[in-house]
Amino acid sequence: MVDFWKRYRRNRAAVFGLVVIILIIIMALTASLFYPNDPFRLMGKPLSGPLTNGFLLGSDSLGRDVASGIVHGAKTSLLIGFVATIVSVFIGIFFGAFAGYFGGRIDDILMRVTEIFQTIPSFIFAILLVAIMKPSIVSIVIAIAVVSWPGVARLVRGEFLALKNREFVQACHTLGMSDFRIMLREILPNCLSPIIVVGSLMVATAILIESGLAFLGLGDPNIMSWGFLIGAGRTMLRSAWWVCTFPGVAILITVLAINLIGEGLNDALNPRLKERQ
């Protein structure tokens, strides 16, 4: 662990990204402390500019506080980003592990399915899924997970293919371990590093997809999110640029920070990969 942190620390940008994300998480957790009111509530004069009428970042056409929306929206983005990634990593591990470990027919079938899901234009597919299931946190998480697992499946399959004939796995066979136990307890822990790296980058993509869906009006109608703020503000672009601008900056900073962390994890977990580049 100490060793890991030493290697991670060497990448300055990654440390910066980690600090930014911790700040954003703190902001999300303390949202109700600084802005105790519902972000959907009308707080004052509509279309006030930044730093006027008591609004830090201005208000929208209904007089809702943009800053409050951003602080409360952080919860939505982070939650959906993490949960959707965890779900899709699980699907990916399931498909990839079975395909790589058993090979042959099972591999053929599972990889064909993966290929189909990779061919389908993912964002339109996500739109369709949310539209059909009706927008809610659960349907958004399902949609993002369904469109993002194929990459993980391919990665895990490759790792399993490479590891399944290694000596330690053969030793497990000789000891009479069940296939399931070998897959879960022996092989999987050995391919966690690339999964963690890919997973961290997927959180960033998931946040971007969520904001895109919310922008198109497919967000959960009861929950404040950054994409919703931008979508609601776009019609007043001419008179109130701040309604769209600040939530976008929030998305940009969050996604950038997560990408930097992903690169840092890559350097720290796969040191050999770094040398090759």
């Binding site: 234009p121 964002f123 339109i124 539209a131 971007l208 922008f215 931008i230 769209c244 998305i251 990408n259």
Partner: protein
């Protein structure tokens, strides 16, 4: 066997491989249609305002909706094969006619985006690789990092704020100036002015992607043995870069351009709805609001097929570009 007949056979084989994928996509489409609440008859009844249960039953019979699911699936497959994608009750037009109407606008946007992104991506990547670790390389790397993290719709809105509302250089939305009935060259100029902002918005992400890929690809090629050989026989660095390394470095970028087409279609939904560009993406956005599921599914199906087709074309181009690839 001669090279051309080999390629011919390869194309045939790849075409056959595409068939199961397309059938699978059609089947997914069918199940999504059935997963949604209500069927076409409910929509019709809703449009009419009132309908007796008997009449709705009769309608279901006429549309074949009373048949068991497998039979319905076969009918659906047959319909799709004959390019019949159903009827849009909102637009009162067949879905395929609607899609056909809007296809040209999206085609134009995507073509200009690909040209801009691939062209400049190759150029910037080349520049970054040749000026490794100088300020130019760093600027290009930082630009790519930021572009990766920016949501597309936000870039579009900011473009409108800066270049349309404040500077007044380009129109905010649409494809033509509706008030003026331009013809000939004036029309072309008008459309191109409307095209600038959507194209830049959509291409930024891919520009960053291709730049990074090109840079990595160039660096990888510089380390190959043939570069050492070229240096040993006294070729100039310029000749090595432009004639030998560049050509080989282009290959992965071409593959990537094919892989990204699916994502590009998704991006065009967002960009078209931001700029009100009257293409398929805008149509998808409208159908979302009108709850016009038939139309949305039609667009989804067509864009999936487009991805399959583009992947095939890229594979074929690839075997011409790289003679080392065994087509058999």
């Amino acid at each position: 066997m001669s090279k051309s007949s080999k390629i011919f056979k390869y194309v045939g084989k790849r075409l056959l491989q595409g068939v199961p994928i397309i059938i699978a996509i059609v089947v997914i489409n069918f199940f999504l249609l059935n997963l949604a609440e209500g069927d076409a008859v409910d929509v019709l009844a809703g449009e009419a305002g009132s309908a007796t249960p008997e009449y709705m039953e009769q309608l279901r019979k006429r549309f074949g909706l009373d048949q068991p699911l497998p039979v319905q699936l076969m009918v659906y497959l047959k319909n799709v094969l004959t390019l019949d994608l159903g009827y849009s009750f909102r637009h009162e037009m067949p879905v395929n006619a609607l899609i056909f109407d809007r296809f040209a606008a999206t085609g134009l946007l995507m073509t200009s985006t690909i040209i801009l992104a691939v062209g400049f991506g190759i150029l910037l990547g080349l520049l970054a690789a040749m000026r490794l670790n100088t300020w130019k390389d760093n600027v290009i790397t930082i630009f790519a990092l930021i572009t990766y993290a920016t949501p597309l719709f936000w870039v579009g809105l900011m473009m409108i704020v800066v270049f349309s509302l404040n500077l007044g250089w380009f129109p905010t939305s649409g494809m033509t100036n509706v008030a003026a009935f331009y013809e000939g060259w004036d029309y072309v100029v008008d459309v191109s002015r409307h095209l600038v902002l959507p194209t830049i918005t959509l291409s930024l992400f891919y520009l960053a992607l291709y730049t990074r890929m090109m840079r990595a690809s160039m660096l990888e090629q510089y380390g190959q043995d043939y570069v050492v050989t070229a240096r040993a026989k006294g070729l100039t660095e310029r000749r090595i870069t432009y004639v030998h390394v560049l050509r080989n470095a282009l290959l992965p970028v071409v593959t990537m351009a094919g892989v990204q087409v699916g994502a590009l279609i998704g991006g065009s939904v967002i960009v078209e709805s931001v700029f009100a560009w009257p293409g398929l993406g805008m149509l998808a956005f409208e159908s979302l609001f009108a709850r016009d599921l038939n139309l949305l599914l039609g667009i989804f199906l067509l864009s999936s097929m487009l991805v399959v087709a583009v992947n095939l074309i890229v594979d074929i181009i690839y075997c011409f570009l790289d003679p080392r690839i065994e087509v058999s």
